[in-house]
Amino acid sequence: MSNENREVILSIKHVDITFETGNKKKLVAVKDANFDIYKGETFALVGESGSGKTTLGRAILRINPCSAGEILFEGKRISGKISREEDRNVVRNIQMIFQDPAASLNERATIEYCVSEGLYNFHLYENEEDRVAKVDKALKDVGLLPEHKSRYPHEFSGGQRQRVGIARAMIMDPKFIVADEPISALDVSIRAQVLNLMNKLKAEKDLTYLFIAHDLSVVRFIADRIAVIHLGEIVEIADSETLFRYPLHPYTISLLSSVPMPDPIVERTRRHIDYDPSVLDQSGEKRELREIRPGHFILATSREYADYEYKLQSM
């Protein structure tokens, strides 16, 4: 698929995110993140804990400020200082699905309030009747029942709670959704349901997802393009098929090799490859994200780039 003719919905332009950690020390959580997300795709950001993936996701929602670079949504800058009206516009159009449904729902509010919260804030309903109808519809869309409205979050199972979290984001009719590990706190048997649901809603509502994950097995199923992030740096970006077919960066390969396969015979001979940064070029040359094939980017020095190129040709 050629990316040139596609409409960019969100653009991350050379974004750095740093945190003060006391003693005037700075923790660089994200270094020079630079990529575009196209309208209608599911873009996955894969990395382990501490890789900066959540930090970057939250920067899009204006929770974390960028210390350098900027973020554009539909061509308009949404990072840094923006007007109140623009801020409201970001909230309307960019929603978030959280990792832990138990922690991200207000335990003292009914499901009706949780799902209506966004409607109230923007007064997105004509009258009470209309609001209730919208809530019912949103619940139905995620496979819950209208009778759940008067219940409290703790009465639900993990999977149901996560669907409440999805319903309250969807009711805003957003264009873009940041899904921050939406299934990793759930039981394996429930995960599939939430993934299906996200796919279904995406098709119905013409959404774009930024799907944050730590596990490539889930991403293969849901993502169109994948960025792999390691210690704050994006090391590889490619469309899903390419990344699985021609993984180049040793870290990507390590991630891929650690996906457990549900087959005892295969597992007996499968090798787990640890990521060893010492195999990289130690010359000290600054690494840049280079496009090695159309749409396939890799973080490399010029020597590493040549190695990757050689490897690609032999594949």
């Binding site: 349901q193 991630l255 549900p262 087959d263 295969v266 787990h272």
Partner: protein, 357 residues
Amino acid sequence: MDENRNIIISAKDVEVKFRVRDRYLTAIRNVSLDLYEGETFAIVGESGSGKSVFTKTFTGMLESNGTISNGSVMFHGKDLTKLKTDKDWEGIRGAKISTIFQDPMTSLNPIRTIGSQITEVIEKHQGVSASEAKKQAIEMMERVGIKNAADRFDEYPFQYSGGMRQRIVIAIALSCHPEILICDEPTTALDVTIQAQIISLIRDLQKELKFTTLYITHDLGVVANVADRVGVMYGGQIIEYGNVEEVFFDPRHPYTWALLSSLPQLGVKGEDLFFIAGTPPSLFNEIKGDAFAPRNEHALKIDFVQEPPFYRVSDTHYAKTWLLDPRAPKLEKPEVIQNLHEKIQKMTDKGGAFHVE
């Protein structure tokens, strides 16, 4: 399979109840399980299936409102369900049977050095001198993959990463040379690459130190790698068990089918993944028939009336489902998990999505 293996621990008809306010919850309903010396048995189940509770009866670690209301757990001729006080458990819990938990911080003391926490266990169980204990502790740390163990001996848990902490917990658990190691979701809180390392570490140590492992997880994907035998738990019961190949390649209980089918590794892009609708049964209520029936699209009428018995599939493989009754209609397992081995083989061979070089 070796038929004459020794049974090291044998649970029979174990029932566990919890008193929650004024109500009783039956968390474990008559579970029996024999573990063989040196094997790895994996218990798979979603949260609330009772998998952790069941294994806690092996170490007497049930929460204070829980009681073993029926059954026995025999270990070296002793019925562990009869042990009450910490003194009764001395020499068993943390000595012959050790546990590794999901969150390493629950087992580590944050204000004591790593080294002192390991040496304490060694001194206590082996009665060796302090300097000998330190030597052994450093050896143990090296064995679980801590580089510069001697230098890191005096560091505190917060100076270790999550994966490193779990390695230390393993070192502590193994430093008293247990006969049984219970791993309660030891990798759920860890990153995938670390998970793979910890699993292979446990496996290597097992080969070397020859202990028996009871591995608890909610992720069938992990099980293929670690287990010799697998038991699937649902609603406080084991509903299917067998050798790992049997459970993966010839599963018989619809719940096992569902668990396998819903793995994202098997998903095809653009198609729906299989999923299990609904929620696990409330253990406060009396469960009639097959606990999985309300969520089972292949449920028979009898599943709502009578609890199925275990049917024998092979000498080592049993499943508790009416579908195996001669009177039941013939039903094939779902398409996604048919020819599982061929499918996975294709995925991991050259050109497959999970092929790595």
